[in-house]
């Protein structure tokens, strides 16, 4: 029975191959203990901490923790462990998600992109498996008017027709998988380029429609007066800081009363005010190997005509300082995707500028971890407490310098 032995041979080979196929990486199955680290858990620094992780989640993190016997121990003495960083304002296209991850940015909030692959994006961010891309939350298409800001990028944008159809427009976005609604309020007056923009009634209708569906409504506003209008309309946050004039007391009072937050996006503001990116961001050999050639040329690119606005740059700083001192929550964001910015490095640029404007390093780190997670209602991100995702960023020494991801 030669043929029968042939059949048996094939079946044995098949089963043997199946048994020999590789299993998950050892460390993933059991517990990994990272010991001797300076740990930032999203809120505070814990010295000489032990971090226990398993299956992509944090089991526990504290200074006096017993290490289970079968745990794989990683001694990271002298290093600092941070939660994966969150960039609260990007436009992710091309290699953005890979680029960002190389600089420790594990979650990004996109403020305008095509929703074509949104269900894949959602599926990927729910996974706890190792990945080479940062996770993404997205507004999808933004709300603007025909010919208004947001229509100049060549991506077709569905235009909300009238306040009566705002509900329908918002529902379409949510069906496409949008995580929040972004509204453009931009008459171009801050940039001496008049632009058509959404009217107040329309904005109120969109905000109400978003809130009725239980999602956030966020606004692009580049002047103090349009920012005030956005807050009056009831938005949850502003995804840019205005730089047309110094922030006044009335605005601060209004912002505090409404409980809104602001994403300063200082890297893109630096670029539109003709400020070159600092040398440590592009010149440092440690960061240089994490920045691709394309990213580098993007960082060195200027906005046309931005040099004329350089005199306004101190207003940005002053506004960050005053808002922060007054207690208005600031969420770190880069607006990467624009000239003068790049996904990953520009969030570190933002953190450095926030510190320069008066935040303590710990406050700046909160603005890129626990604070955006809280304001966007994300569980398990921006923290290293029991139950959080084990998205770790390990850095040497000073937490305000550049990050080195695991």
């Amino acid at each position: 029975m030669k043929s029968l032995s042939g059949i048996i041979l094939v079946l044995v080979a098949v089963i043997a191959t199946l048994l020999l196929l590789p299993g998950p990486i050892e460390g993933n199955r059991g517990v990994t203990a990272v010991i001797g680290v300076r740990l930032f858990d999203g809120e505070r620094i814990i010295q000489n901490a032990t971090l226990l992780i398993a299956d992509g989640l944090v089991i526990d993190a504290d200074s006096e923790l017993a290490v289970p016997e079968d745990a794989e121990v990683v001694d990271a003495s002298g290093k600092t462990v941070l939660p994966g960083l969150i960039d609260a304002h990007v436009h992710a296209y091309g290699n953005a998600r890979r680029d960002a991850l190389r600089m420790g940015v594990t979650t990004m909030f996109d403020m305008f992109r095509s929703p074509a692959d949104q269900s894949l994006v959602i599926q990927q961010r729910e996974s706890l498996q190792p990945t080479e891309q940062s996770d993404l939350f997205s507004a999808g298409y933004l709300a603007t008017v025909e010919g208004g800001h947001g229509t100049q990028y060549g991506l077709p944008v569905p235009i909300p027709e009238s306040p009566e159809t705002a509900d329908e427009w918002v529902n379409q976005r949510l069906e496409e998988g949008s995580d929040y609604i972004k509204i453009i309020i931009e008459d171009g007056s801050g940039w001496s380029q008049p632009l058509p923009t959404l009217g107040r009634e329309m904005i109120v209708a969109l905000v109400d429609a978003a809130h009725a569906q239980g999602v956030l409504a966020v606004a692009h506003a580049s002047t103090q007066s349009s920012a005030r209008m956005a807050i009056e309309a009831g938005v949850d946050g502003l995804v840019h800081l205005f730089a047309d004039e110094p922030v006044d007391d009335a605005f601060i009072e209004q912002a505090l009363e409404a409980g809104i937050w602001i994403v300063p996006t200082t890297p893109v503001l630096a670029a539109v005010h003709g400020r070159p990116v600092p040398d440590w961001l592009v010149g440092n050999p440690d960061t240089a190997r994490r920045i691709s050639k394309q990213q580098r040329s993007m960082l060195l690119l200027g906005f046309p005509g931005s040099g004329m606005r350089e005199a306004r740059w101190p207003i940005v700083f002053e506004n960050v300082r005053r808002l922060h001192e007054a207690g208005v929550p600031l969420l770190a964001g880069s607006d990467a995707g624009n000239p003068g910015t790049a996904h990953g490095p520009s969030l570190h640029h933002e953190l450095a500028l926030l510190v320069e404007a008066g935040m303590t390093p710990i406050e700046a780190l909160r603005s890129a971890t626990s604070l955006p997670a809280e304001k966007f209602g994300l569980e398990g991100r921006g923290c290293l407490e029991p139950g959080c995702r084990a998205d770790l960023v390990v850095i040497d020494g000073n937490p305000t310098a550049t990050a080195e991801s695991v």
Partner: protein, 244 residues
């Protein structure tokens, strides 16, 4: 070993048939594997596990449809099936021989894809998951065997390959086996949910821990699908004597 057992004899005959026609065997085995390499390992890196499940489904479905459909249509035209019916071999043995060939193809395809996924796609699974993936997809070939059988009994030998391709390729695509159905537009997703390969892939995605499946629902769809082709097979078999 009982050498007179007709089932074993027909399994053996099928095995010899496959060995002696490498021009048929090799392309049938390598075609879906090649597809997986292009889509799952070269183009969409990072989606290797998901696509292993869906292209695995695609592969076993093809093996089942073609080894049954085309050969049954040809053998029927040649009168070979009628001869077999006149022989002491029961109908079940004839089908067992064919089913053996299809399932053997199925498991070899899945194992080849799995090995490539592990080697080049960095896919890592528990041993139990590798085994369940191979098991689910191999057994999942059965309803498609019935479909191939029914079509083979009803189609002329010239029409069979064309019709099978016309069923196989769109069915594979629409069920989200090439591109995950999660990136389909909404209406196309609801089409996918009615197709049996979608449900076989859903079970494969579930056992590999990629996406949870509704087992009762998916098994019901696959069962009803298999049952309807079993009925068509029975009708086709009866018709055999009268027509050809």
């Amino acid at each position: 070993m009982n050498a007179a057992n007709p089932s074993i004899q027909l399994v053996r005959a099928q095995w010899l048939n496959l060995l002696r026609t490498p021009a048929y065997t090799l392309p049938t085995l390598l075609f879906p594997v090649m597809f997986y390499v292009f889509f799952g390992l070269v183009m969409l890196r990072g989606q290797s596990l998901w696509l292993l499940c869906t292209f695995g489904t695609f592969g076993v479905m093809g093996a089942a449809l073609f080894s049954f459909g085309v050969s049954i249509a040809t053998e029927r035209a040649q009168g070979w099936l009628l001869l077999l019916r006149a022989s002491p071999a029961p109908v079940s043995a004839v089908i067992a021989g064919k089913a053996f060939g299809a399932l053997l193809f199925a498991i070899v395809i899945v194992v080849m894809m799995s090995a490539l996924a592990a080697a080049f796609g960095n896919v890592r699974l528990e041993t139990a998951q590798w085994l369940s993936l191979a098991g689910i997809l191999t057994l999942g070939a059965l309803p498609f065997c019935l479909m191939g059988l029914a079509l083979g009994l009803w189609l002329s030998p010239n029409a069979a390959p064309a019709v099978l391709n016309l069923v196989y390729l769109p069915l594979g695509f629409l069920s989200g086996l090439w591109i995950p159905s999660t990136v389909f537009p909404g209406w196309l997703q609801s089409v996918a949910e009615w197709l049996p390969p979608y449900h076989l892939a859903a079970l494969a995605l579930d056992v590999t821990g990629t996406k949870a499946a509704d087992w009762a629902h998916s098994l019901t769809v696959l069962g009803l699908f298999g049952l309807s082709f079993a009925v068509m097979t029975a009708l086709g078999w009866r018709r055999l004597s009268g027509v050809s």
